[in-house]
């Protein structure tokens, strides 16, 4: 009983930790993808799938939330395109491009720190 409870807590903690770690990286990767050109939400998930062999892909609902928040911050803008029905595509804004430059520096810094840590270990 206690073990089960503990597992539950562990699962919850892992899920929370994963969510927190991933959400920033997802945002960063989305900006990175959009730098090469406008993309549909489905294509963004596909790119993440290919990049991570399916291990690092947000659910459609989670991706929707991330894209919404990026739009709110003014980093990304959306527009409709026509297929058999209207589909929503996204592109990087000027502000998004500027923020991406800073984010790239930040990611590089994190990478360096993690590398140093690995060498020490």
């Amino acid at each position: 009983m206690y073990g089960e409870l503990n597992m539950d807590r562990k699962d919850r903690a892992i899920r929370k930790f994963r969510k927190e770690l991933r959400s920033g990286v997802y945002s960063y990767l989305i900006l990175k993808f959009l730098k090469t050109g406008e993309l549909h939400g489905y294509a963004i998930r596909k790119l993440l799938e290919e990049l991570s062999c399916g291990k690092f892909v947000p659910s459609a609902g989670a991706l929707y939330d991330i894209l919404k928040s990026l739009q709110k911050q003014g980093l990304v803008e959306s527009f409709w395109v026509m297929e058999t029905r209207p589909r929503k595509c996204y592109r990087l804004t000027n502000l998004g491009e500027e923020v991406l430059v800073e984010a790239e520096k930040e990611v590089r810094l994190i990478g360096e720190i993690l590398n140093k840590l690995e060498v020490k270990e």
Partner: protein
């Protein structure tokens, strides 16, 4: 006493109508149809969006009906109406938000094959519409001194003025009405699935110019420059034109 009973019966029937409408919307929550329910672009195109938006709308309407039923006993009519209108507005905004979200999440799941960018440049239309308002404002400044302090702003079908108002507020209200078409134009370019008129921006612009022209005629009527018959003739002419145009669009629909 009689008045109190009348007010109460109005409030009672409005509440019951809401509950009834809610029940019907809820009953059709799994059956997309062109008659009953939240019918916007998103719910037409996605069954899931239809289900979620209509489940919400049905429950919201029924609960609003019950709440208003209870409130009708204590609230004066004016407050009752304010609550009623805010509930209706919330219903529209929330159902729209739900339908849009469900549609967009579904959209992310469906593979994209081959799309074309439908770039509707709404700016020239919007500018043309705003120019009409600008011209109207210049016209108002020219005729302002000649206008009586109370002006006729509305006419009965028979051509008799039936609503008069202070000239300042009358013109202010007119300007607000003139912003409706530009707002629709702007919004339809952002949300083609809510205001589906991005293909008819030319027609919208024409309506705008007609509205502004008619409003200018009304001012000219108030300074005895044109007769009310002229205004009626212009309106009938425009309605006839709209009917012919709509028929033409319908005949040539793809």
């Amino acid at each position: 006493m009689i008045e109190t009973i009348n007010v109460f019966s109005v409030e009672l029937s409005v509440s019951l109508i809401l509950i009834f409408t809610g029940a019907i919307v809820y009953a059709f929550k799994n059956k997309p149809n062109p008659y009953v329910g939240v019918r916007i672009g998103y719910t037409y195109l996605s069954e899931e969006a239809w289900k979620k938006a209509n489940t919400f709308a049905g429950i919201f309407l029924m609960l609003s009906g019950f709440a208003l039923l209870l409130l009708s006993a204590i609230l004066p009519l004016i407050v009752y109406l304010a609550v009623f209108l805010s509930l209706l507005l919330s219903l529209v905004v929330l159902s729209y938000t739900i339908a849009k979200k469900v549609y967009e999440i579904e959209d992310i799941k469906v593979p994209v094959t081959n799309y074309r960018v439908e770039s509707v440049n709404y700016k020239p239309y919007l500018i043309l519409q705003l120019i009409s308002i600008f011209i109207y404002i210049i016209f108002v400044t020219v005729v302002w001194d000649k206008l009586p302090s109370t002006i006729a702003v509305h006419f009965s079908i028979g051509g008799k003025p039936d609503i008069y108002t202070n000239r300042f507020y009358g013109i202010l209200a007119t300007l607000v009405i003139m912003l409706v078409v530009p707002a629709l134009t702007f919004f339809s370019s952002k949300e083609p699935l809510f205001v589906n008129c991005h293909r008819n921006l030319g027609f919208l612009t024409l309506i705008q110019w007609f509205v502004v022209f008619t409003m200018a005629l009304v001012l000219l009527y108030n300074i005895h420059f044109v007769s009310v018959e002229t205004i009626v003739a212009v309106c009938i002419g425009f309605v006839a034109f709209t009917v012919v145009w709509t028929f033409w669009l319908w005949k040539n629909r793809s």
